[in-house]
């Protein structure tokens, strides 16, 4: 039986409820796996597209990235990749950043960074497709 030096009448389980390290069971780990599985073919397709565009001029690159196949691959690859890396960086922050304030700000910065990079890429791909 555990000791109760503070004399609190709260039960031990009430004290730790909702305080899991990631604040959410297996959701994080599962989403990591789903995104990594999706990224396997998507990354290969991404490399394939980029490989064909090395050293090409602006007009050629514009046209190639505006092609439906390339655009759809990019529109799948970017958000999947960005979500995957957001989850990964979240784990790294939770592992190495211990100060409660710095941790909170780092986690927010992570989300903002991923949102900005992700939306910027998506906007560019859509613009290449439609303008």
């Amino acid at each position: 039986m555990a000791t109760n030096p503070s004399g609190s009448i709260r039960t031990p389980v009430a004290k730790v409820r909702h305080l899991g390290s990631a604040r959410s069971g297996t959701q994080h780990a599962w989403r990591m796996r789903v995104t990594s599985l999706a990224l396997l073919p998507l990354s290969i397709a991404f490399i394939w597209i980029v490989l064909g565009l090395i050293g090409k001029d602006h007009a050629t690159v514009r046209e190639a990235l505006g092609h439906p196949f390339a655009a759809i691959v990019m529109l799948l690859f970017v958000p999947t990749g960005v979500y995957h890396m957001m989850l990964g960086m979240q784990t790294i922050i939770e592992d190495y950043v211990h100060g409660e304030h710095v941790k909170m700000w780092s986690l927010m910065a992570n989300m903002f960074f991923c949102a900005v990079v992700g939306l910027a890429c998506i906007y560019a791909v859509l613009r290449l497709s439609f303008i």
Partner: protein, 137 residues
């Protein structure tokens, strides 16, 4: 000599500690685990380059010329080479994790084969892609 317990925390209140890196002997699997994280961080910031490239292509010919100039420079090429390797290494590391998730290859020596496979495979795929890149261009 008897071991004296100097911890100020009462025995019942102590929580189990998970041992950290420095406790273990260094192994190839350790290095691959660390490399998986480092390549992940590299890819994370590498997306800035992808965003720059895409936005430049969507903006104007002169903006695209700027990003092309950077990618073509020595610094740009080194970064892109690193990005290619990080992508393949992290990808193979991910496959390795899927194999473990399925319950296979966790014992010695299979896990060492996997670690070597990740390391060599990542380097080989990087070289193949760069040879292809220089051949196509």
């Amino acid at each position: 000599m008897a071991v004296t317990d100097q911890s100020p925390i009462a025995n019942e209140q102590r929580r189990p500690l998970s041992p950290h890196l420095q406790v273990y002997a260094f192994a190839l699997t350790t290095a691959m685990s660390i490399a998986h994280r480092i390549t992940g961080v590299g890819l994370y910031f590498g997306t800035l380059l992808l965003a720059w490239w895409l936005i430049a292509a969507a903006t104007s010919a002169s903006a695209f010329a700027d990003v092309s100039w950077f990618m073509d420079s020595i610094v740009g090429r080194v970064i892109l080479l690193g990005f290619t390797w990080a992508l393949f290494h992290h990808m193979l590391g991910g496959i390795r994790h899927f194999i473990w998730d399925s319950g296979y290859c966790m014992e010695h020596p299979q896990r060492e084969y996997l670690a070597k496979g990740t390391l060599i495979g990542g380097l080989v795929l990087t070289i193949l892609v760069w040879v292809a890149a220089y051949t196509i261009r």
